[in-house]
């Protein structure tokens, strides 16, 4: 299957009732498990940050040292100098429990998806861009169309364009590995076994700061992802990711 930007596909040829689902069952199930985990990780990660909304670079940092930057929010601990007269409720206990549980489920789900993606050819067919798509012209055409908030063609309901492909590849092969790595680099037990994982990042506080920024990167992806789905047709794209059926015609009517 080629990309629509360079190789238009006849919609009727692929969207018949006998056609294979737009997204395979494994992609659909892992997508929604990851969505749930991401939401849990985002909320609990935010709660954990609130107990000390200051960020540092290097090995150590605390209320007595100068932060790299601080978030302009109150904290859930009394001693943190935030400039606010009040202290938020401590939510760290359940937040940490849920954060690590969601992380485990996300990592195991991600491993399953990776194995499937390589074995089934999902990455090769659906995510790795075709050589012709990697030209600057093809790329800039697509970016320009995105910036004009153009609704994608029907064929694009069946295949990802080059910008989408690169965004998904960055999330899967760059941001997710980075967020797992920087998370583990904060664990005193994990780094006792693998000290290089934190040393190359510049220290434990650097790992925490990087973890925060990579998480923001993932959040940015999710926001753009949802906006693009709304532009492309929220109901048809969400239905495709739940049932597997793409069906663009009804959406247009």
């Amino acid at each position: 299957m080629g990309d629509s930007a360079s190789l238009p596909v006849s919609v009727s040829a692929v969207s018949g009732t006998t056609a294979a689902p737009r997204h395979s069952a494994l992609v659909r199930v892992t997508h929604w498990i990851t969505t749930l985990c991401f939401f849990a990780l985002l909320v609990t990660g935010g709660e954990i940050v609130i107990s000390h909304p200051r960020f540092y670079w290097g090995e150590t940092g605390n209320d007595l040292t100068r932060p790299l930057f601080k978030l302009p929010i109150p904290a859930s601990r009394r001693l943190v100098p935030t400039g606010y007269a009040y202290v938020l409720r401590d939510q760290n206990g359940w937040s940490r429990y849920l954060h690590f549980q969601a992380a485990w489920i996300a990592v195991l789900t991600g491993l399953l998806y990776l194995i499937y993606g390589f074995i089934s050819g999902h990455f090769r067919k659906n995510l790795f861009p075709a050589g012709t798509d990697l030209s600057w012209r093809a790329f800039s055409t697509k970016i320009a169309s995105h910036l004009r908030f153009e609704r994608p063609s029907d064929a694009e309901a069946w295949s990802y364009n080059v910008v989408q492909r690169l965004a998904y590849l960055i999330v899967i092969f760059v941001l997710f590995p980075l967020v797992i790595w920087t998370g583990l680099a904060m664990s005193p037990a994990f780094v006792s076994a693998f000290p290089a994982t934190v040393n190359v990042l510049g220290g434990q506080q650097s790992a925490r700061t990087l973890h925060f920024f990579v998480s923001l990167g993932l959040l940015l992806f999710v926001l753009v992802h949802v906006v693009m789905i709304c532009i492309a047709g929220f109901r048809s794209r969400t239905r495709a990711m739940i049932t597997g059926r793409a069906g663009t015609d009804k959406e247009r009517a």
Partner: protein, 252 residues
């Protein structure tokens, strides 16, 4: 059609049975190797068990990172402590000469140690990081007697699995498995940065478990109990932390 779905059902049933049986066997083996944390029940039990079990397999003999003297935080950050009681002030005025560490439970020779006795044992010093679950951290030099030395002195029985430690502060206690208890960097700390351990940092005696977060490093240690069963202590979750919603294992 019905034949296929029946075959499918039998297959699914067999797979499910095998899966449940496999999990049961895995749980038994994991328990045998001490890979199940005491707070494994409840909705977060899965994550806790995966974290504790996998980190135990990875970190059985690993050493916490140690740092050069130049990286010691000046001054170290002292978290809040309860205001000292009159009894504590009396002990402090006497230079903690009357401070006692009692050791009971699954030991051959239950005993009581003064600080001078503990200090007469070979001391160990380490420059390690103390990391709070909130996110802040500092590096300090800690001096103390390895917990393993005290455990040797009282003769831990072979069936022991955990060391429970109690603070002077009421309702403050925690526990570690024997892997951490016998770990060379686990110290009963009485010195810090070339001085006596300040009261603000848990002086005169603080448990130092550098491969776990700050809250496992309980201050004002007065009592140790060696056990093979954490169910007998508090609500049976291994420490007071899970009773407040915090994980027993804090290696992460």
């Amino acid at each position: 059609m019905t034949k296929i779905s029946r075959r499918k059902m039998i297959k699914a049933g067999l797979a499910a049975t095998a899966g449940v049986a496999g999990l049961g066997v895995a749980a038994r083996i994991a328990r045998g190797y001490g890979l199940i944390p005491p707070d494994h029940g409840g909705i977060y039990g899965l994550g806790e068990t995966l974290t504790y079990g996998s980190q135990r397999l990875l970190t059985r003999h690993s050493l916490a990172r140690e740092f050069p003297r130049s990286q010691i935080s000046k001054p170290p950050f002292a978290n809040e402590i309860e205001p000292p009681t009159d009894e504590f002030k009396r002990l402090q005025a006497g230079g903690f000469a009357d401070w006692r560490l009692t050791v009971t439970g699954m030991v051959a020779r239950p005993g009581s140690f003064s600080l001078d006795q503990l200090k007469s044992y070979p001391s160990h010093s380490q420059i390690t990081m103390l990391q709070c679950e909130e996110g802040w951290s500092y590096i300090a030099e800690w001096v103390g007697v390895p917990l393993s030395h005290v455990l040797d002195a009282v003769g831990v029985l072979p069936q022991a699995k955990y060391v429970v430690y109690f603070s002077w502060e009421p309702d403050t206690w925690d526990s570690i498995d024997m892997g951490d208890a016998l770990h060379p960097q686990t110290l009963l700390t009485y010195g810090m940065n070339g001085d006596e351990l300040p009261v603000g940092h848990g002086g005169p005696l603080r448990m130092r478990v550098p491969r776990q977060l700050g809250y496992k490093n309980v201050k004002f240690i007065t009592h140790l109990t060696v056990t093979d069963n954490l169910k007998r202590f508090g609500k049976g979750l291994g420490s007071v932390s899970p009773e407040y919603g915090y994980a027993w294992y804090a290696g992460i």
